[in-house]
């Protein structure tokens, strides 16, 4: 039987932002969304299990998917500018799932790379976005810092940092400085990948305001090979400046990376609510933002990261739910709280990457030490470890991965809960950006932790 395509045209999404049911932002945040999320969590009996950081219960993942799907249909997406809800029907959402891209190429020339939908325990490699990942990187070291990540041939796409100044002036949101800054950022990134010998390497840019984004995606800057980043603020919200980006991307044919990070403890509730909110957000990124590659996972607001047990469990649940029930090019990110040149940052990286790889993510985005809070606090080696662990754990059974995760998490959990994770060192202090080598101290830490991870059972080379 021929299925008719009933994809929602983007212009109709914008119409619905003007005509949908009225709801204030406050009402949405504290009454509408929490109520629906709570109902779905209870209906499907979802409960956080601190001993199953990487779940292997398919029926649980499928139940979570159903819960997230129903949440998406019943809630919709709130447009904050009009305070009206963009509703998407069950049929329209099913069409979005059915018609979503299951393969996509990024990059150009010899750096062109094919992304594909993965499933839990998938033996095929996961794609790797690695880099400063929205951390502010000083103008004077912007090129070599990005070059350092691009030099690793296991990195598929460069996860770009943020330029805090342009020609010495602060890049302030919504000002001409931001326009100049975003355009300079793209030029510097293109130079960085060229110097790394990877001129066609795809770039995944930061989430700037509307003017900055449009400047970066204007003629001769970011192109069809790159990832166009558009956020969906938690929880299930959008705004005109985000829909403006989506409008341009739709007309120009850019490949959209839509992301959302529902907060554990926030409006969605606990890890269960945040997980199903992540699922709903992934669906709506595809249906409303027209994302080619949604990236959604719970964020543990208590620690500014997702390496806690709750974060791990939630991420595993939403990744498997999406991977099992859709063919989305679904991504997850790994948000760590420790800083570079520390053992903790490497253990957090390892636990997070094992999780996303075996749970069936198509790609991961990382690593952002100290949650990106400190300018230039990057170590590069955490990104390299991300690649090594991913390669080593493709095809691993979820049960085995969970056993591993339960050995790794205790290595940092006490410090995580103390909310006093080590800040570590800046890239200037732990990495030689002239010769692209870590400091001896950082190299020794990396070697020590890598050996420990091998001894724990990760088949690293």
């Amino acid at each position: 039987m021929v299925q008719t395509c009933s994809l929602l045209p983007f212009v109709e999404i914008v119409d619905r932002a003007h005509t949908g049911p009225v709801c204030s932002v406050k009402e949405w945040d504290i009454k509408v969304l929490p109520k629906i999320a709570k109902e779905k969590v209870e209906k499907y009996g979802l409960k956080f299990d601190p001993e199953n950081l990487i779940i292997s219960d398919d029926s649980l993942a499928d139940a979570a998917y159903q819960a997230g799907f129903e949440l998406a249909v019943e809630a919709g997406v709130l447009c904050m500018d009009t305070e009206r809800i963009i509703k998407v029907s069950e049929e329209e959402l099913k069409a979005a799932v059915r018609e979503a891209k299951r393969e996509q190429t990024y990059g150009r020339l010899s750096d062109e790379v094919l992304y594909y939908a993965r499933k839990p325990e998938d033996k095929r490699p996961i794609r790797r976005h690695v880099g400063p990942f929205a951390t502010a990187v000083s103008e004077d070291i912007f090129i070599p810092t990005h070059q350092a990540y691009a030099l690793c041939h296991h990195v598929d796409m460069l996860s770009c940092g943020v330029l805090p100044t342009v020609y010495g002036r602060e890049v302030k949101a919504g000002t001409p400085y931001e326009v100049l800054g975003e355009m300079l950022t793209v030029r510097l990134l293109q130079e960085a990948v060229r110097r790394a010998g990877r001129p066609g390497m795809p770039l995944a840019g930061g989430d700037s305001t509307g003017v900055g984004h449009l400047a970066a995606w204007s003629y001769d800057h970011l192109t069809w090979g790159d990832h166009c980043v558009i956020s969906m603020p938690s929880d299930l919200k959008t705004a005109f400046f985000l829909l403006n980006k989506a409008a341009q991307a739709t007309v120009q044919g850019y490949k959209v990376y839509g992301f959302s990070h529902p907060t554990i403890g926030g409006y969605a509730g606990g890890p269960e609510g945040a997980a199903i909110m992540s699922i709903a957000a992934a669906l709506m990124c595809v249906a409303v933002l027209k994302a080619d590659a949604p990236e959604t996972n719970p964020y543990d607001g208590r620690y500014f990261g997702n390496s806690s047990r709750e974060g791990m469990w939630g991420r595993s649940l939403c990744t498997q739910a999406i991977a099992r029930n859709t063919n989305f090019l679904f991504g997850v990110d790994v948000d760590v709280v420790a800083g570079p040149c520390t053992e903790m940052v490497l253990y957090e990286t390892a636990s997070g990457i094992i999780n996303s790889t075996v749970s069936g993510a198509a790609w991961t985005n990382g690593i952002r030490p100290v949650a990106g809070r400190y300018r230039d606090y990057l170590g590069v080696l955490e990104g390299y470890l991300m690649c090594e662990v991913e390669l080593a754990t493709c095809g691993m059974k979820r049960k085995d991965a969970n056993d591993l995760a339960k050995k790794i998490v205790p290595k940092y959990e006490t410090v995580l809960k103390s909310k006093n994770a080590p800040v570590g060192k800046s890239i200037r202090e732990c990495y030689d950006l002239n010769n692209f080598k870590p400091s001896q101290e950082w190299h020794d830490i990396y070697t020590k932790v890598k050996k420990d991870l091998k001894d724990l059972g990760i088949p690293l080379t």
């Binding site: 504290i30 302030k172 931001e178 926030g266 300018r375 909310k419």
Partner: protein
Amino acid sequence: MLRLNLFVRSEIMNDEILRDLKDAVMKGDEDAAKKTATRALESGLNPEEAIDKGLAKGMDEIGKKFENSEIFLSDMMMAADAMKAALAVFEPKLKEKGITHKRGTVVIGTSRGDIHDIGKNIVATMLTAGGYEVHDLGFDVPPLNFVRKAQEANANVIAVSSLLTSSMYYQKDIVNYLRDMGVRAKYLVIVGGGAVYPKWVKEIDADGYGKFADDAVMVINTLIEKKEQRPILMEGKKILREA
């Protein structure tokens, strides 16, 4: 005997009212909070007692439950709204007596160019629970709006959150406006959010920084009493000796 009975009945009624006020806050029921506050006044219950032994008790419990992840942000915000609704009923009586229950007045918001507000909402709610009058300007707030609202509300504190580096710079603008308008000394400026790092506080001559929501509240509590200790930088309930 009759007098004793009346006294006992009055005590029992007061206990009931206090319990109902606490319950209304814990359930986030604004209507119940307002009605019970009205009942409290009609029964002659001292409004300060009603606040301390009723409303504040409810918010204390809510705060503990939030800390233990038994409840979440929306529950806490509804509790704070219920408390505010009851306080609004008590306000005229307190004014009449020349009493203020307020610990201070805070203007809070997310900086221009930024729509992230969860952390800011947690801080605003905790400040309300802590006895502050809070004016929440929302998100994407231009710097002058903070200043004007602070002047209008006769605030003590301006608290600004930024998750994005590009919006963080507007925190400096707020300090600069206050200085250039000759009113810098009138307001404490507290900064926070995912983009903000401790050194930034000194760079822009702000007064305080808290990494987590409870840090921000502790910093404000301390500076309200002891402004001379500025700047105070706190992460994970520990004061940083160096930025």
